[in-house]
């Protein structure tokens, strides 16, 4: 069939900010879909609130709206753009929910817009568990017994029928938010009531537990001619009970007979048909009882998903791209397979390697969070590794996690016993760690095998399939034999076996008690080096034309490098808090720019969610861990044919930077700013000297390794202080201390955690205004400032967690000029060639430099979207020798209007964790709002971050004494806007004293009804609550959490509150309008001309 000719304009809905359960895999799939649609000659209109995405690059779509993802805003866009169709299947659950909303509120009908990819009926059927269950029974598929409940009574009745343990699944929430497993009536009460609260329709499903069963997923596709293919089967190493996003998974499924697998495949076909997904991809989850093979259907997602991104990377089959084409009416057999070129997409990929995915959690950021893994996803990122065997892929995946020494699978026993645990205690601890899954369970499995536990014992406790456990025990056995012979006594055969089983040089260094360099040279002496194999969708049955490679220890190498000039770009590894999609965005841009400049581009990365690991982003893709061993081996292979090979390390965040010096020492040319300059900026003493020489102020600082030293430093600098360990990423373990007692507490903890490492102590510039600056500098010393971003929250909030705005709206021109001057001088002094980020603070007419990082920063994509100038691309060109003048950039960049960036947080997933912000970064993603005024831009950003600002109602105010004077004006503005004011006693008295009437409401511990009740009863529409600088009170935390769970805006800084007031004013005055990035950029260009 030819494609449909009645569709000319398509609106693609993105997935919004990165949150747990919905990460950059949707940038990958959305970008693929947009490219595929445009390649078919369609006009693509894109909406996504997340600026840190490749898909929102203005050249990816014809019209790009970085606007809030709400039904109202989408209606405005549809009204303006009049698309023929909406594609909602590449933007996660967010896009599906929006599609349903647009259908239900009549927008689609009103504008005559068709949904393509999935119908509302199909979406509803897959989402509504009751309907889904009935549909499954109709087609003869087994499902777990379950009941819907809307209150506790019904819940108790249901559990009588279904028994404990019981699974709680709230309806219509993302990534299982609010779900869990209850083992007793207490837990049921807690989880069911939370779930009922969180569900938009106030309903939860209670479901028969199949905990401990084997868990599988199928990635399937169907076209409008009812052709059906399975792209990939995935097996969860962690059995049922752990969310698949939190499970270690492997592709292909490894423990199913053909009969079991084909039965599952048959079910898959019946399910996608019955649900009614006429074109596109779906993900279907199954559970199989290991005792008798009973198979049940768990759920189905009628869209591309995290697992389909994984499946695409695991097989080389681009699911999102093909799904977009199928939505246009193509049949699978009409679409060619890009990798083999000669064969069509209507086949089932088969692979001759094993893929292992391991999640990456960020519990260190949320110390109070429960680390137990359940049906609600908690991980923030993932790594994928490819090996010829399961063992190899598994070991490579763990090496990819970048967890430092705690990531090593072996030698953890000695560490634990050194930590003071007795052998008995350790046995008990192990038992618990094995039976209750947490992020650290796999290390417990290895410790248990090292201690001689048997496969049966581990199976009993973990329910992990014996096949996997035997693989692990074999790894432990190999490690034991290696440890016995040592490095000197090791034969080539044994060394080869270890490498073929995936043991990295680093892991071997721990096992053999030798440094990594000795391991490496011994290995090379034995002639053992990695060879590279291709991912080709067909297990070598046909020739492949895409160099998508992974390393292994095999006879034949298929890397086949060219003698061209090439640049190796090192990616940023797994997403984590503080290092997310922004860096992948930058890496992709480096690749795009350098390819345009005629270089052969080579990417190294291990994050399957990313655009950078799409096989057509670069000329050559190595899906490998970002370790020195793997990177240097790739570069060595690429150098073999004689072409010049240089390396980009400044785009992937800390991950590649950590490798910069060792790569340079190994003789590899680093492009752009030298590793020494990068080091200079990170080395406090050297950097302080440099600023001193330049005459640029810096906050007073010092460092200490003991509590006594810290007190001495505090005595000279004076409180408050910012304290942090010398190695930091995303503000890890950073704190603000206001007095000696707090300083002592911090120091004692820090010294215990890492003895000997200095703690950095800075004067905390209280109430200062902070600014972020991104600039590009070239080798002639020219510097172009991309933008100066003013933080909306005052100093003390991590820059990644602070909302910010460009252009600055409160900073006076003289200060802006000074900041430009400082930035230029620092860039020149550091000999920056490429990107540089600097952070400044303004306090009492002095501008202090807080930090300078001569590398890509988190704000680069946001700034690029605001200005319309792709800074990362510009910097990449500068790094290979072009000058800014050659690139036509002679002036600092400007924007048309205001652009506000606002972070989003994962607090909803971590009950008990305070939502208060501080110097430790906690946000997972960001959104951008743009408008001609600050107020609307801010309101849009808030809306995009999920915070609907009230236009009227009651505001609750409770602030600390320090903030009381300044809150008066905010309260007055709110009153003038018609808000009723309520406050806690102290704040209310203060407001009354300043002529504002404020009703008193009880704190949570003062009696009832208290403020929490008032929020739950919808009597409070907004919360302004600033905590004391030190440990906040439990009361505050409760209020903030109730507000968050109930969807009431909760503002914890006064500057944030002031901005909110401005936004409410603007919302009531002007209202929201929408505008495409292309329009903003055209206006900025005109203005300049």
């Amino acid at each position: 069939m030819p494609k449909r000719t009645d569709i000319k304009r398509v609106l693609v809905i993105g997935s919004g900010p990165i949150v747990i359960g919905q990460a950059c895999e949707f940038d990958y799939s959305g970008t693929q879909a947009c490219k595929a649609l445009r390649a078919e000659g369609l006009e693509v209109i894109l909406v996504n609130s997340n600026p840190a995405t490749i898909m929102t690059d203005p050249e990816i779509a014809d019209r790009t709206y970085v606007e809030p993802l709400t039904p109202d805003v989408l209606e405005k866009i549809i009204d303006r753009e009049r698309p023929d169709a909406v594609l909602p299947t590449v933007g996660g659950q967010t896009a599906l929910n929006l599609a349903v909303a647009l259908s239900e509120n009549g927008t689609l009908e009103k504008y005559g817009v068709e949904l393509i990819g999935a119908s509302v009926d199909a979406i509803m059927l897959a989402e509504d568990r009751l309907k889904f269950r009935e549909a499954m029974r109709e087609i003869g598929a087994d499902v777990p017994e379950s009941r819907y409940v809307r209150n506790m009574e019904e819940a108790v009745d249901a559990v009588d029928a279904l028994g404990f343990p019981i699974i709680i699944r709230p309806s219509f929430t993302l990534g299982g938010v609010g779900g869990g497993i209850a083992y007793n009536i207490e837990e049921l009460r807690e989880l069911a009531s939370r779930g009922i609260d969180l569900s938009p329709v106030h309903q939860v499903l209670l479901e028969e537990s199949v905990i401990g069963w084997k868990e599988f997923e199928l990635e399937v596709m169907r076209d409008c001619a009812d052709n059906f293919v399975v792209i990939c089967s995935i097996e969860n190493v962690d059995p049922m009970g752990v969310h698949t996003g939190d499970s270690i998974t492997v592709a292909p499924a490894l423990t199913l007979t053909d009969k079991e697998y084909q039965r599952m495949r048959d079910l898959g076909r019946r399910i996608i048909r019955r649900v009614g997904v006429e074109t596109g991809g779906s993900n279907i989850q199954f559970a199989i009882n290991p005792e008798n093979g009973r198979i049940i259907v768990i759920e189905m997602n009628p869209r591309v998903s995290r697992s389909s991104a994984l499946a695409s990377k695991a097989t080389g089959f681009p699911i999102a791209k093909i799904a977009a084409k199928l939505a246009l009416g193509y049949h699978l057999d009409e679409i060619p397979n890009d990798i083999t070129r000669l064969t069509p997409a209507s086949f089932e990929p088969t692979i001759d390697y094993v893929v292992v995915k391991v999640p990456r959690w960020a519990f260190e950021k949320f110390p109070r969070a429960d680390r137990t893994l359940t049906t609600q996803m908690k991980s923030v990122g993932e790594v994928m590794a490819i090996g010829r065997t399961f063992k190899e892929a598994f070991m490579k995946a763990f090496a990819s996690l970048e967890l430092g020494s705690s990531g090593l699978l072996f030698s953890q026993n000695t560490r634990r016993l050194a930590g003071g645990l007795t052998a008995d205690e350790e046995e008990g601890a192990l038992q618990r760690e094995l039976s209750v899954p947490t992020d650290r369970r796999m290390w417990a499995v290895f410790r248990a095998f090292e201690r001689g536990w048997t496969v049966e014992e581990l199976h009993e406790l973990t329910k992990i399939d014996r096949w996997f456990l035997v693989q692990f025990s074999q790894l432990v056995e190999l490690q034991r034999s290696a440890g016995l012979v040592g490095l000197r006594g090791m034969s080539r055969d044994m060394f080869r076996t270890l490498k073929r089983s995936g043991f990295g040089d680093r892991e071997l260094s721990g096992i053999l008690g030798a440094d990594e360099e000795s391991i490496r040279s011994a290995r090379l002496e034995h002639g053992l080096k990695a060879s590279y194999k291709r991912i080709d969708t067909c297990a070598a049955e046909f020739e492949s034309f895409t160099p998508y490679l992974y390393g292994t220890y095999e006879q034949e190498c298929e890397a086949d490098p060219t003698p061209r000039q090439k640049v190796v770009i090192l990616g940023s590894g797994p997403n984590r808090i503080g290092q997310g999609i922004e860096f992948d965005y930058c890496c992709c841009h480096a690749a795009f720019a350098l390819r345009e400049e005629g270089f052969e581009t080579v990417m190294v990365n291990c994050n399957p969610e990313t655009v950078s690991t799409d096989y057509d982003t670069v000329d050559r893709l190595y899906f490998e861990p970002l370790t020195f061993e793997d990177v240097s081996s790739i570069i060595a292979r690429e150098q073999e044919t004689g072409g010049d090979v240089a390396c980009v390390v400044q785009y992937g965040g800390q991950t590649p930077l950590k490798l910069a010096l060792s790569l340079q020492q190994a003789g590899i040319r680093i492009l752009g700013t030298s590793p020494d300059s990068i080091d200079l900026a990170e080395d406090r003493e050297r950097f302080a000297q440099l600023l001193w020489d330049l005459g640029i102020p810096q906050a007073p600082s010092g460092s200490a390794t003991t509590p006594d030293e810290a007190r001495d430093v505090a005595a000279t600098i004076g409180f408050p202080l910012v304290v942090r360990p010398s190695y930091v990423l995303g503000g890890r373990a950073m704190a603000i201390v206001y007095d000696v007692a707090a300083l002592d507490r911090y120091m004692i903890r820090a010294v215990a955690a890492s003895p000997g490492h200095p703690i950095l102590i800075d004067k905390f510039l209280e109430d200062a205004v902070e600014l972020d600056v991104d600039a590009v500098a070239d080798s002639t010393g020219a510097v172009v400032i991309g933008g100066i971003m003013e933080h909306i929250e005052e100093a003390g909030i991590h820059s990644g967690d602070s909302s910010c705005v460009i252009p600055p709206f409160k900073v006076i021109d003289r200060h802006v000029a000074l900041i430009r001057d400082y930035t230029r001088r620092i860039a020149r002094a550091l000999n920056v060639v490429g990107l540089m980020n600097a952070q400044f603070a303004i306090r009492e007419d002095t501008i202090y430099v807080l930090e300078v990082n001569p590398r890509a920063s988190r704000t680069v994509p946001y700034l690029s979207k605001a200005t319309g100038v792709p800074l990362a691309k510009v910097a990449a060109r500068v790094m290979i020798g072009r000058t800014l003048a050659q690139l036509g950039l002679t002036e600092d960049l400007d924007v048309s209007g205001y652009f506000v960036k606002t972070p989003v947080f994962p607090f909803v997933r971590f009950p008990g964790v305070d939502t208060i912000l501080g110097p430790e970064m906690k946000s997972t993603g960001e959104v951008m709002g743009g408008a001609s005024t600050f107020g609307i831009a801010f309101a849009k950003a808030q809306l995009a971050a999920g915070m609907q600002l009230p236009k009227e109602g009651t505001a609750f105010i409770s602030v600390n004494n320090h903030d009381k004077p300044a809150v008066v004006q905010i309260a007055r503005d709110l009153r003038d806007l018609g808000f009723r004011l309520v406050a806690t006693r102290g704040t209310a008295n203060y407001l009354r004293a300043h002529g504002l009437s404020a009703e008193i409401v009880f704190k949570v511990n003062e009696g009832r009804p208290h403020v929490g009740d008032e929020i739950l009863n919808d009597r409070i529409q907004m919360v302004i609550n600033t905590p004391l600088g030190r440990e906040s009170f439990f009361d505050d935390r409760t209020v903030r959490r109730i507000a968050m769970m109930h969807g009431v805006p909760s503002i914890t800084t006064l500057t944030g509150a002031a901005a909110t007031v401005q936004a409410i004013k603007a919302l009531r005055g002007e209202g929201l309008t929408v505008r495409a990035l292309q329009e903003y950029h055209a206006e900025a260009a005109t203005r300049k001309a």
């Binding site: 199913l256 064969t343 089932e348 010829r388 096949w467 070598a540 049955e541």
Partner: protein, 373 residues
Amino acid sequence: MKAILALENGSWYEGEAAGAAGETGGEVVFNTSLTGYQEILTDPSYSGQIVTMTCPEIGNYGVAADDGESRKPQVAGFIVRDESPVASNWRSDSTLREYLVRHNVVAISDIDTRALTRVLRSAGVMRGIIATGDVDPRALVEQARGLAPMEGSDLVLGVTCDAPFDWKPARPDEFTTSAERQPGRALRVAAYDYGMKWNILRRFTAYGCDVRVFPATAPASDLLASNPDGVFLSNGPGDPAALSYAVHNARELVKSEVPVFGICLGHQILSLAMGGSTYKLKFGHRGANHPVKELETGKVEITSQNHGFAVDADSLPKDVKVTHVNLYDGTVEGLRHETMPVFCVQYHPEAAPGPHDADYLFRQFLDEMEKRA
């Protein structure tokens, strides 16, 4: 124990013995199916062949009594990348190695199976020897060169049954897919056993047919004398062109007006009988993911395949129509006679291993048989 795989092109691979000790020779081929190594091992069509599994982890779920496609392994030898030391499945009776040793199948593991596959893909399948223990690879290469080539080999005589018998169906289990429909009355099928996979028989049972199985050498008149509602020609090993007796019998059947259905070798024999010719493919089709298009409806089936020879489309007489083609390489996958009730497919609608997409062909055979009655 060490083992070596030597090929007639002069190359060899050193690995570990993964089955019985000893030496074996055959045509080295590769199969890309991710599941179903037991079905592959026991498929008589692999007689005379050493099968390489491209899926690297093999043996994980062991071997189960109910999953065989014949009484014992039929391959000449077996090649895997990584052999599982355990059998992890509730139905398994033994590990893969125990099974191979018990049936004296020589196997090798721990070699670069992808490199081997790439050689076979570009140079074509070739003869090879697996030998365990301390062996001289150069001597093995010479030995491989001395093996009889597949072209012209009648391997059917080694795997067909000795005498006619009635297939006694086992009770269907939870893995039996239900038939699209049941016949109005009990139907009798007479089947030529050229090395028939048991799942073909199981599918006939599911479709309500009683099957009498005949040796490959039985005259067509014997089959027709049993007064069948339809005649079936099974899969099997080797070169169809070497089976003049089978082609002769097939010619009789085509003329008989009894509905005839053929699979794989049966399809090739029917093609020859109807006047077509066959040729050897460079590296064959062996796997469970091959897309086949049914030309009449345009529907694409994902199919299970195992064949080294193919029918030449240009050789076919006018009254034989190509019904199915392979979307990988355009080769003939299915034929139908315009006037006689004869149809056949190159691939395996009985699956085992592989997808069940083409099961409808059994229903079509049912239709043909009922139409005539």
